[in-house]
Symmetry: C2
Subunit: 208 residues, 2 copies
């Protein structure tokens, strides 16, 4: 896929320019989006037969799989602050601790496949992780409005959340708005729900 | 009803102590909760026959009605920032401009009757109003977990959003967690949805 729109907060921009591990975290998520391509192609082709014809979960799963398998990220990292109380906030979708000789850097990413309200909750959860010192860089990835038209009904899109990014100015926060490179009625439909997902074992943080 | 729990951010606390109009806005919302009582009683008695047996909308409407009729608040104030694009964010539920000889003070209140994700969106919308200089004090009112058990299924409660209040420290923000003073199986059931609501004309900002 391609990154059609991108928000990098002032705080995140500074961090990425001055901290090699922050830059690496950013690059890895960026790569997971770019390397999410249609099987047998070098880019992502979305079926555009009609509104809402594709599921969004396979798009997310493919990016997460790249982050896990190529870059060693973990899934479902709980925030200590929530004391495992899922009612207060679920785990961070994907998470990685970058460690070098002198440095330690923690990055969390969410890809909200629910509606716009859920995207607000994801955004706030990541901000809590930053504020409580459990994350150093927060990232969110969302389809653009253009792409979301052909994905699951009511899935939140980049443009819907964009008016709220000003709340993130001082938070080290990045939002990626991705889009397909090509639209075609001949492309394979992406299954909805969990149908058609291979029963791959995900790398959960708790089994690390 | 009574105010069982209350969050006043550092910024709001300072404002309420130093600005008479901020104190007045706070007091008016406080009063609308305290004066929301069961007809024929001096306090609020909630039917507790079973889980989710009451609707939450009548609780909200009564508070808003008090704010409108006794204190001159207006309903549905759009934020200029959203350019009337409801997709970006709907209007502020209730709003008042306090004007004295030398001062001008704007306060907005939301009562989120949807699920917890929607409460995050309401919170963020009010924060945007503050950040863009369209509100001077933001308030949110929610039932406590105790009371929400007997209200519409999945309605958000104070305790669910509480872990996120730390994001509001520097924002002039108040959250009220209200509860009934009494629970009784003999109290009248509050209707769900819009059933039983009188077709009262609300004081919309746009018709001011």
């Amino acid at each position: 896929m391609k990154i059609a729109k991108q928000y990098i907060s002032t705080a995140a921009d500074h961090l990425i320019k001055t901290n090699a591990l922050a830059a690496q975290a950013f690059e890895e998520v960026y790569s997971s989006i770019l390397n999410n391509v249609t099987t047998g192609s070098d880019h992502f082709i979305l079926n555009c037969t009609c509104k809402n014809c594709n599921g969004v979960v396979p798009v997310k799963e493919r990016c997460y799989q790249i982050l896990e398998e190529e870059f060693g990220w973990y899934r479902e990292k709980p925030l200590t602050y929530f004391h495992k109380d899922a009612q207060k906030g679920g785990p961070i979708d994907v998470y990685k601790e970058f460690i070098t000789g002198h440095s330690f850097f923690r990055s969390g990413l969410e890809f909200e496949t629910g509606n716009i309200s859920s995207a607000h909750r994801s955004m706030n959860k990541l901000c809590v992780g930053i504020k409580k010192g459990e994350l150093d860089l927060a990232m969110l990835m969302m389809p653009t409005k253009n792409m979301s038209f052909y994905l699951t009904d009511r899935v939140s899109n980049y443009e819907e959340l964009e008016p709220y990014f000003l709340l993130l100015d001082e938070v080290p926060f990045v939002v990626f708005g991705f889009d397909a490179e090509e639209y075609s009625v001949d492309a394979p439909l992406l299954p909805k729900g969990k149908d058609g997902m291979s029963p791959r074992t995900i790398r959960k943080w708790q089994y690390k």
